[in-house]
Symmetry: C2
């Protein structure tokens, strides 16, 4: 069989640049496309324009997911896609590659084979990163369960989730040719994504065949001491929330290391109050993100976390922990994995089979429908950063494999 | 001799409440009166109103210091006062007590003894805390040296110092009866202030006689690592700026402790970038504040700081330190100290003699003119916090001693 001819009709790069241009700001590096923000809205709007220009049926649901359907002859649906949001100062491919690669794959099939048996559906999920509100995968969770996240959610500017959601969705529904309904679940879901890690590169693989996804838990820890004057309070009379938080984080990092070398432990967010040079901090809040493919390891860490926050030499320091993510490890669909492995062999791409260290929309979809994932290499394993990069040939290879995978499923 | 009768003509509380009401915000506890902010302007404006209502000669200089003169029969000047700015979420007495206590003392003398031999001058210095810009004592430094701080200073909102200064001063000079000039230096300066520490309380002293002020140095430390994905980057391949900063701060705290038990070491400000739960921090910036009454101890710590930032196991982490405060320890005027000690004995107030752990405007004034300080107790030693408190009887006692001290100097 022959590779996809990318010399013509390869619109992927034009689409990518148009959308990323809308989420680049002069004063901050990389892409910042937080859910329901102006740059996010501009991106979903652009995608809808691409879809309607290609005669796809366009629809938006109440959480802001965008669906582009190329209708088939029966009522089964073969879906692909990823998320439209990014982290703060993120890269140009995380999420967006799966959306525009999926659109390119559907365009390739439309051009070469015409109307499919099963409907081909591209999905741009509204949110996956949890970078604006303390909730993740809200787009894909809504699609499979029709559940809204808790209404109390607010961002750092105290804007609440539902207000932001309603305004953004209302604007999207004003666009021409956009329908408003909740599409049925697909027969299968295939997600194309960058690896965001170093393994494909180190193993010289072009395509990563994903057999499962790690479980992850996130916590918010509050350390409350006593604000006081930095010059007049003797060291032994202080209740310094930052120094207590530092001691706690150090113990937690050592506990994670001792537990399992594959367990990842990250404190990505830390804020100090009042955060002034000559004032002893009275309060510190920080996040914990832990991931592993075995729930038992995550549970053991969580037990140690609860033990360590109660072990405080200074009883005047109060400490609270709140969990806001608890996602179990999952296995992806075996049949689709075998099919994709066969495709990569037929097309002659070197592959590796791996567990994903990152959560993905596939994590949620796999709980409802047969789901599979394809990875392409990330240069230097760098992601969630402005210098996130993938070689153009690898991006084309991923779209090539996805195109053939969707063809075998939908025709 | 008799105590000040505070039963009538005691306007201090009315003034205090009027000014603090202007720097209280519904969404944040305590007083926030950052230099040149709307609440700061409202406070200086209110003080000018109090002064003109009392027939004092009112003048503002180019940095926003407010001077209220009760003219004497010769051209010598006896000055008192303190600073009008606060820290973020500060208390109601830090700085403001010395201004309104000083105004009350001058009103007491005006009412009982009329025109003095030497001019009595109340000074409300524009800024002392360094809470908005990375510069401290800009008000008193300008008065004694007529020097502006470096023009490159900007606040967290990127507003630069000189723009903020010029706008605020321009507005103050529009007020009726406000003159615009740079007053001459006084013959002496007496500052009334809350202790902001626990020593007067623990020693059951009503008045603290301050013999000197500690030296202090402040630094800003930048730790630069590599931003990356929290799930897909193995622990051993990370360059986590926050974990490196935590290790460095822990070593610094232990170094300070080993050096001298009287050395204070505070990290009051710490910011993480990009500060998102699922992203490994790429950059951390934090402040260091150290204080001691011996320069040699501060210098030894500084040497260890420079050694420790170069000792990094992970060479991919870059670390920079910048010093932005270097104030030497000072001794205050011995003659005025002796006179104040005599006054407290004559009035029967229990006292203690101490070195101030906080910098004060007196620190700057003492380098130009004979300077003395009077402390009153801080309940629980708490300051730079919303629950900063001093007993009303102690506040009255401080004003009583200041009134007599100014009388002996000016009449």
């Amino acid at each position: 069989m022959t590779h996809l001819d990318v010399s013509n009709q390869f619109q992927f790069w034009r689409w990518l640049n148009q959308i990323n241009a809308r989420s680049t700001q002069p004063d901050r590096p990389g892409q910042t496309r937080l859910v329901y923000s102006p740059s996010w809205f501009a991106a979903q709007q652009a995608l809808i324009d691409f879809g309607t220009a290609a005669d796809l049926v366009t629809c938006v649901d109440d959480i802001g997911n965008v669906y582009l359907d190329y209708p088939g002859t029966d009522n089964q649906v073969i879906a692909t896609g990823s998320h439209m949001d990014t982290v703060v100062n993120g890269g140009q491919f995380d999420g967006l590659y799966g959306i525009l690669g999926g659109l390119q794959a559907i365009m390739n099939l439309k051009q070469r084979f015409g109307r499919p048996r099963h409907t081909l559906r591209l999905i741009a999920f509204s949110e996956e990163e949890g970078s604006r509100f303390n909730a993740t995968f809200t787009g894909s969770k809504y699609y499979v369960r029709q559940e809204m996240p808790p209404t109390i959610l607010t961002d750092i500017n105290r804007i609440d989730f539902s207000t932001a959601r309603q305004q953004a969705v209302k604007q999207l529904l004003k666009l021409p040719e956009v329908q408003h309904f909740q599409p049925n679940l697909p027969t299968s879901f295939t997600e194309l994504h960058i690896e965001q890690g170093p393994r494909l590169m180190t193993q010289h693989a072009t395509i990563g065949l994903v057999c499962g996804i790690v479980g992850q838990r996130r916590y918010s820890v509050d350390v409350i001491g006593a604000t006081n004057h930095a010059g007049t309070t003797p060291m032994h009379l202080r209740h310094d929330a930052l120094q207590s938080a530092i001691t706690l984080i150090t113990k937690l990092r050592l506990a994670a290391k001792a537990l399992d070398s594959e367990l990842t432990f990250t404190v990505g967010q830390l804020s100090v109050s009042p955060n002034v040079a000559n004032v002893i901090p009275g309060r510190v809040t920080f996040s914990i993100d832990i991931r592993h493919d075995q729930s038992s390891i995550l549970t053991q860490f969580e037990q140690q976390l609860h033990t360590l926050i109660t072990e405080r030499p200074d009883k005047a320091i109060k400490c609270h922990v709140q969990q806001w993510v608890n996602d179990l490890p999952v296995k992806l669909d075996a049949r689709l994995l075998t099919m994709n492995r066969q495709i990569t062999q037929d097309l002659g791409y070197p592959t590796t089979t791996l567990v994903s260290g990152a959560g993905h929309d596939s994590y949620i979809l796999s709980q409802a429908v047969p789901t599979t994932m394809l990875f392409v290499p990330s240069v230097g394993g760098i992601s969630h950063a402005p210098n996130e990069q993938t070689n153009p040939a690898d991006l084309a290879a991923g779209i090539d494999v996805l195109t053939e995978s969707l063809r075998r499923q939908a025709y």
